[in-house]
Amino acid sequence: MKAAQLVAPIQRRGTGLSDRSLAWLFCGPAILLLLAFNVFPLLWTIYLSFTNYRANRPNSPSVGVGFDNYSRILNDPEIWARLQSTSHFLFWTILIQMTLGFGLAWLLNQKFRGHATLTTIILLPMMLSPAVVGTFWTYFFQPQYGIFNYIVSLFSGTREFTMIGSTALAPWAIILVDSWMWTPYVMLLILAGLRSIPDYLYEAAEVDRASEWTKFWRITIPMLLPFLILALLFRFIENFKMFDLVNQLTSGGPGSVTELASITLKREAFEKWRTGYSAAFAIILFVSVYGLSNLLVRFLERVKER
């Protein structure tokens, strides 16, 4: 009662601006900028996707072509092959990073001496510029003198072999470098999850004489689930967009075995200048990543409610 009486006159005092206009004053500039640089370009891309516009011929008239671009993309076996490479990359990077990240987080949670410092050290790769570090990995992969190839030859005996020049190994080279960069990301998330599990759950299990195995499946995994889904979500979105690292490592080659969707998009839009066609492809990619991540977010919310 008293509080309400106190608060009411305060809101009328002040600069004379109502809360509503203040809200717009605070949020307005950011929203305007987002409208100009996000909403407007998105609408423009949707418009372009229905035309045959080519950015390198700005003066030739662009003609509406209806859903032609979309049907051409969806019926193009080349595009499906690229999406297959993307799925291969997504599946293996996520599997490796989740498994390895889980293992590392579990080990770090054993709180041995120096674990905090080591966590920071292990995190370093993920903060670096993927394009710049990716370029340098081509040096490590040099068939004649690369240090990666040298270390492998110490164990396998094969003197010269090529990682990024071979159609069989190149898809694994990009998976390897991506995992080197991003496993720490998953590790950090899962480590936070492990530390958020309250001790009393394990204490109770101890009283019940539950086995380690039971504790793991009945306590650790269910409590970690939101963190695991979140890691999956972020890695999925990031690697679906993957461009810089792979572009610098292999630029899609050899042939097109490592040409992920984003690299195809760049070729269509900025090398072949098929702007309308690539706009349609961009929309298709956006809708897929948006739809799939929405599913994951829903799942995450259901898990959190439990």
Partner: protein, 314 residues
Amino acid sequence: MNQTTDPLQPSSRMRWLAGGLIYLYAFITLIPLVWIFVTATRTPNDAIAYPPKLVTAPSPTGFVNLFTTRTRLSNEDLAALPPPATWYDNLVRKQQMVIAGPSSFIGRYVNSLIIGFGSTLLSVVLGTLAAYGFSRFRVPGKSDLLFFILSTRMMPPIAVAIPIFLMYRAVGLSDTHLGMILLYTVVNLSLAVWLLKGFMDEIPREYEEAAMIDGYTRVQAFYKIVLPQAATGIASTAIFCLIFSWNEYAFASLLTSGNAQTAPPFIPTIIGEGGLDWPAMASGTALFLLPVLIFTVLLRNHLLRGITFGAIRK
């Protein structure tokens, strides 16, 4: 003798094993990073030796080559020249080349600094205001707006670049600092708003209400009470924005070519000058990575929050 056995604490043998495995992983994962810095101090010939040398005599050749452009001369032409005037002239002569002029590395590095700091400043200012607004006021359609702001991060950068490229060409922002600053500001804004809203939500409203009872206006309460409380959050958000702009490659490679080109699209091109000059590229990479490495160490306790858009606050 009689150790206290807390069943929840890992046994000492377990700890040793865990520590050992983690040290091993940290060692392996650091090899590429250390190798970049090592290569920066080598001569081009040492850098392509087989088997790779573990230790070589340090040489500034990589840095000299990074900061200069050089022309290759024949032996006769070299012999006809007057003796080298400086130590770096001398180093270049040893590679059978002469210095033709400074390289564009410093310019690109400065571009990275201007665009990085400019966009960080803008996105943190706008982000702080918007985050406060979202945190304290009833904004119509707030949750939709917030989710929309997040979803802008799901667009592949190339997809965003298509209309931005056309837009910038139409208004003359292609390859300008302003254009890149605005673009990075928008990309960082989503992160800034989400992170800062989390920090603002943690500041009790009672502080401002008390201040307003004392006669402060809402705006005064915002910058005298809330801003100092949110300082750590704002600083760590700023570092995240800075690191993103600093590392960004896709937009920079498509929308800039000279005037406003940042370091990431430039560094890979160093390799072309004067054969496979790995030490020059390594020096450029090392100078480029160093600030981020330092910031990461400074930021270590806020990393988790930053990389998950504030979804996990620890």
